[in-house]
Symmetry: C2
Subunit: 129 residues, 2 copies
């Protein structure tokens, strides 16, 4: 149920540096400590980090995530948090469009390369006979 920083790093894929950085930047609440002063991450911490990772990896800035995270335990902020997530969803949809465009452009270029290569090969074959 509880995890050291090394375990948490392994579980989330975030480096230890990043875990400490996120805490300092208040993306996660102050993590509990053991008798040695070592960080002890709870299941809920892991879950929160996992959620943050999702929105981080799709481009929400540290600053926005910070704002979002700071509202976490205030029920009256739900509508703001909701709005932020909807806004991010819009960004994600934009990203998806860019991905589609990029995919098409890449495939067109590869097709061009292949046509060219095919031509060269045929040319060689002609020369052979």
């Amino acid at each position: 149920m509880n995890y050291s920083i090394t375990e948490t790093s392994r579980l989330t894929g975030l480096s230890k540096y990043t875990l400490r950085y996120y805490e300092k930047e208040k993306l996660i609440p102050k993590v509990k400590r053991d008798s040695k002063g070592y960080r002890v991450y709870t299941k809920q911490d892991i879950e929160w980090l996992t959620f943050l990772l999702n929105i981080r990896q799709t481009g929400m800035s540290i600053n926005k995530i910070k704002q979002f995270s700071q509202m976490r335990f205030k029920a009256e902020t739900i509508s703001i948090r909701r709005k932020m997530l909807l806004e991010h969803k819009e960004n994600i949809i934009e990203q998806e469009k860019k991905i589609q465009k990029s995919m098409a452009a890449i495939e067109a270029k590869i097709a061009r390369y292949d046509r060219y290569t095919q031509l060269q090969t045929e040319q060689k074959n002609v020369n052979m006979y």
Copy 2:
């Protein structure tokens, strides 16, 4: 058929600064100049920039784009360029997966918010009667 830096900026959405930067970094070949020494972008320049923008916006690094661009006029590099594009395509597919995960996580959270808000509203209604 030919465009000033301002027009090119408007056409591509890249700032003038970025256009000069991309040229300095060799993402595009040296742009032609007019009698005043001003840049003159051709239709082909615009097309190349548009393609670069596609792969840039889906996260290919300036450095990779530079490598790719430098091979542009060497027929014998086609297979390398092809490989680079396929690799980028893989990255894009990974991004898409992250987007799907993030989308699901956001929707789940919004659903949670809505359930909570709904509960609060019902509570109020109970108190009213």
